[in-house]
């Protein structure tokens, strides 16, 4: 007996997506298996590592902890939507230039989390950057070049603010 399925309709990177999914399917699995967007990676499936971070209705979420059916009507953004055709986003370019990735597995999650942060009205300080990005795990870079990359992108985008002197 096969499990009953539910139809989910949402937009992913501006494109309409419709999928028939079992109710227990995670949003990450729907993106990967139904929409063919394998840029969203699953590193732990219990909401700790953040590799699967995407932006849903303007907020960063762990797509492994969200059911696909919860995305009904939502506006979903994934790493595949960051570049404008051939042109990488300033953040993507900064990751490239600052060597902010090695194996690249955690990278989509960091890119989406930092993209969200850079879109918020408040300026990015070193404290805020460290606070926000400490919610994702990377095992290759020691974070040093991720910090450099996000800092460089924030500066380029006019979002950077020096921290008040201690």
């Amino acid at each position: 007996m096969s499990e009953p399925k539910t139809t989910v309709r949402c937009t992913v990177n501006g494109q309409a997506v419709q999928a028939d999914v079992v109710p227990r399917m995670s949003l990450a699995d729907m993106l990967r298996e139904e929409a063919g967007l394998t840029g969203t990676h699953l590193g732990c499936e219990h909401g700790v590592c953040g590799a699967c971070t995407i932006i849903v209705n303007g907020a960063p979420v762990r797509s492994c902890l969200m059911f696909a059916v919860q995305a009904e009507g939502a506006e979903v953004r994934t790493v595949e939507g960051l570049a404008d055709g051939e042109t990488l986003s300033p953040l993507q370019r900064a990751f490239w230039e600052k060597h902010g990735l090695q194996c690249g597995f955690c990278t989509p999650g960091f890119l989406m989390l930092a993209t969200w942060m850079l879109e918020q009205p408040e300026p990015v300080t070193e404290e805020r950057l460290r606070h926000v990005l400490s919610s994702n795990l990377c095992r290759c870079t020691g974070y040093t070049n991720i910090v450099r990359a996000v800092t460089a992108a924030a500066k380029e985008m006019g979002k950077w603010a020096e921290s008040a002197a201690a």
């Binding site: 590592c49 090695q102 990005l133």
Partner: protein, 753 residues
């Protein structure tokens, strides 16, 4: 352009930045089935029976197998460092009557979807009679099997006259140290896809990494296939760190299943499985005795240590124990030495190598000893090291030991020089003064420093096939592998340097067993040294031919030709490299101009360095904050300094993890208590400072054509030792750190006592 020494951006990055990577889980074959492994919930026991009836009835289930279904497949053999006696401790691909750790594969389910496979796997019931588990490597030996104790072997290494050293000693130190059980934990879990390629009548495994060629031979042998009927393919690899890419039971199972079912079979590990099933590492207990003279110079060192191997001896055989013993004396002269490393089976996840295997542990032991000598004799902790370092004039230095089957010879080094450069770079006197001032003001803040010697460039060979197309494009096919460290970029830079082309005009193929007959893969910081040398040799061979051909084309003197910008120039006149290559290829009657080269060596090359940590201890919680982490590392020659620094940053963060956070803890009955990321704590950005890398090129290796030494591991090696020293300094000698990780709870207890 983009040659050796330039911090160019990586060739690897564009697809990874766009979400277009091809990691194991991203690979899809039409009609693929999904495998789920049923794992033992018991640490040690005898399997009475396994009930698979309910699982077989589940929707979508195609097959359910237990040990009996794979009984003819031999256990997984050793890839390297086999020693007598270990063979009986190898792991079967599914448990054969006994289970020896929680997480051991006892059955598998194959179904149409991963959800169905997981549902059905939960209905497989293994009735297991529990036996008393062995949970430490230092307890009395137990029985592994009838006639076999839980000690699989002992590795012994020594040089010099130890008895004379102790006779001459003014001081004798006896100390015990323990390093916790932790491991690599790449962000991508393991994965493997078995695919029967009917068209080519061959079996394929996708999702390979690290050592595809070795694994091809190993798996073919286990499945009784001719090697030419099996090929392994590496896609993107989400981190390796030594643990990924060895032959594990699951790799063999997907291949076997694809062979039997003639359908693609995919297995993607979940994180809990990873923490229970992929190689653990470290977990050593050392008992050392040191003979020391009145000036603090170590005359002799004796170490008996115990390695917690877990439930089976896996592919690495004696590797970690061997490296621990062979590299333990590090940068110090130490005229007499003896080590005995006991490989002990316990009922935990089997262990293997993890970045700087044996050196993270041995460096902790040796450097803690140096600090203990300094403290007891009232000598400065940096000065004690200076007094013991091997002097530059004694290099090359034959250690009198072997490691990984090669004689340990420090090929190029200026140990004191590097220490002096680090001291100057951080202005050590001023740094110490500022920390003293903060302590005087009530903070618990301190500095620790530790020396390490790494090894790299393990032979015996690496092959490269290098070809140049008429377009000028260069293709480099290697038997190396990539685990995310930048192999493609670095190899392209080496070729670009020789041929005077842009590194972006080079394509690097790796990890494909159908493209090159043999290969050694990526481990032991070997690729830049070994594959890099082979690339440069192949490129030089082609350059000689191109030079001769271009001299004819340009009617110029061959010796005066310059290779640059994709052209071969004679003054104002030039010929494109591709055109000259095409002319040579036409001569050969081949579409591309091709050369093969093989670099062989019987010695490793030894990079070295110092880690320095500044750390603060919270007075109430005993929480520890690493404020500053500096790594001085001589790598001989940097092909890409930005990538070398990246290796250092990442290694340091992992080293900090092992020093302060990461540990696999078990209950007394063998239940793992660290099976999620909520319990096994990886450091986040909150716990890792901006790592400072001081990359030096003062001691290029004389034993390879590029002078390079491997940079993959030195970022982690001395981190545990440096952090332990910093904690002691922060608490001004009120505690003695002999065990990693140093958790707030443990530190508080030490402090209370």
């Amino acid at each position: 352009m983009g040659g050796i020494g330039r911090s160019v951006t990586r060739l690897e990055d564009p697809p990874l930045l766009r979400g277009q990577g091809r990691f194991a889980a991203d690979i899809r074959f039409p009609g693929e089935l999904h495998m789920r492994v049923v794992r033992s919930p018991i640490a040690h026991g005898r399997i009475e029976q396994i009930d698979i009836a309910d699982a077989l009835d589940c929707p979508g289930v195609v097959a359910v197998w237990t040990g009996a279904d794979v009984a003819e497949i031999p256990p997984i053999d050793f890839r390297q460092m086999r020693i007598p006696g270990l063979g009986d401790y190898r792991q079967p691909i599914l448990a054969q009557g006994m289970v020896r750790y929680v997480g051991e594969p006892v059955a598998l389910v194959i179904a149409e979807t991963p959800y169905q496979a997981e549902d059905a796997a939960e209905l497989v019931f293994a009735d297991i009679e529990e036996l008393e588990p062995v949970m430490t490597a230092v307890q009395p030996l137990g029985e592994f099997a009838p006639g076999l104790t839980t000690e699989a072997g002992v590795v012994r290494k020594s040089y010099g006259d130890l008895a004379a050293a102790f006779e001459a000693a003014a001081h004798v130190f006896e100390l015990e140290f323990a390093i916790g059980r932790h491991t690599g934990v790449p962000m991508e879990t393991r994965g493997a896809i078995g695919f029967w390629n009917a068209e080519q009548e061959r079996l394929e495994m996708h999702g390979a990494s690290k050592v595809p060629h070795a694994n091809r031979l190993a798996i073919a042998k286990m499945l009784d296939l001719p090697p030419e009927q099996l090929h392994l393919f590496e896609g993107h690899v989400g981190g390796g760190f030594g643990i990924r890419g060895e032959v594990y039971p699951e790799d063999v199972l997907v291949c076997l299943a694809a062979l039997r079912l003639r359908r693609p079979v995919k297995w993607i590990e979940d994180r809990k499985e990873h923490l229970l099933a992929a190689n653990h590492s470290r977990d050593q207990h050392h008992r050392i005795r040191a003979a020391v003279d009145a000036q603090g110079v170590v005359l002799g060192l004796e170490d008996e240590f115990f390695v917690d191997q877990g439930g089976y001896v896996r592919t690495h055989a004696s590797t970690v124990t061997d490296l621990t013993a062979g590299m333990l004396p590090g940068p110090y002269h130490i005229p007499a030495f003896a080590a005995a490393g006991h490989i002990r089976l316990t009922n935990k996840t089997p262990a293997g190598t993890y970045r700087a295997p044996g050196r993270y542990e041995g460096t902790f032991v040796r450097e803690r000893l140096m600090d203990a000598i300094a403290d007891r004799l009232g000598i400065d902790r940096v000065e004690i090291r200076r007094r013991n370092l091997i002097p530059a004039e004694a290099i090359p230095f034959k250690r009198g030991l072997d490691a990984l089957g090669t004689e340990v010879v420090y090929d190029a080094a200026d140990f004191a020089g590097l220490l002096a450069k680090l001291e100057a770079s951080v202005d050590l006197p001023a740094l110490r003064e500022s920390l003293a001032a903060r302590r005087a003001a009530g903070e618990q803040v301190g500095l620790g420093l530790a020396y390490f010697v790494e090894k790299s460039g393990l032979g015996p060979f690496d092959d490269v096939i290098l070809s140049i197309a008429a377009t000028g494009r260069v293709e480099i096919v290697t038997g190396a592998a990539s685990v995310g460290q930048g192999v493609e970029t670095v190899m392209a830079q080496v070729a670009a340097s020789v041929l005077g082309v842009a590194h972006t005009d080079c394509t690097v193929v790796h990890g494909q067993t159908d493209r090159i007959a043999r290969g050694m893969g990526a481990f032991a910081s070997r690729v830049t040294v070994m594959t890099g040398a082979a690339v440069s040799m192949a490129a030089e061979t082609l350059k000689d031919r191109l030079r001769a051909r271009a001299a004819l084309l340009l009617q110029a003197d061959a010796t005066g030709l310059v290779f640059e910008g994709g052209l071969i120039r004679a003054g104002e006149a030039s010929v494109p490299l591709g055109e000259a290559a095409a002319a040579c290829a036409a001569e050969d009657g081949t579409p591309l101009l091709t050369a093969e080269a093989s670099f062989t060596t019987d010695h490793m090359t030894y990079p070295y360095g110092v880690h320095l940590a500044v750390l603060r201890v919270d007075a109430e919680t005993f929480g520890m904050v690493v404020e500053r982490f500096v790594v001085a590392f001589d790598v001989g020659r940097s092909v890409n300094p930005m990538l070398v620094e990246g290796q250092i940053h990442g290694g340091a963060a992992q080293g900090i993890g092992g020093a302060l956070f990461e540990e696999f803890i078990y209950s007394a009955d063998g239940q793992p208590l660290s099976a999620s990321f909520a319990d096994y704590l990886l450091p986040t950005l909150n716990e890792v400072p901006m790592v400072e890398a001081l990359v030096l090129e003062d001691a290029p290796s004389p034993i390879n054509p590029l002078g390079v030494k491997g940079a993959g591991e030195g970022g982690i090696t001395a981190a545990g030792a440096a952090i332990a020293a910093a904690v002691e300094d922060a608490l001004q000698g009120r505690v003695s750190i002999t065990r990693l990780p140093i958790t707030p709870g443990r530190l508080r207890i030490l402090h209370l006592n």
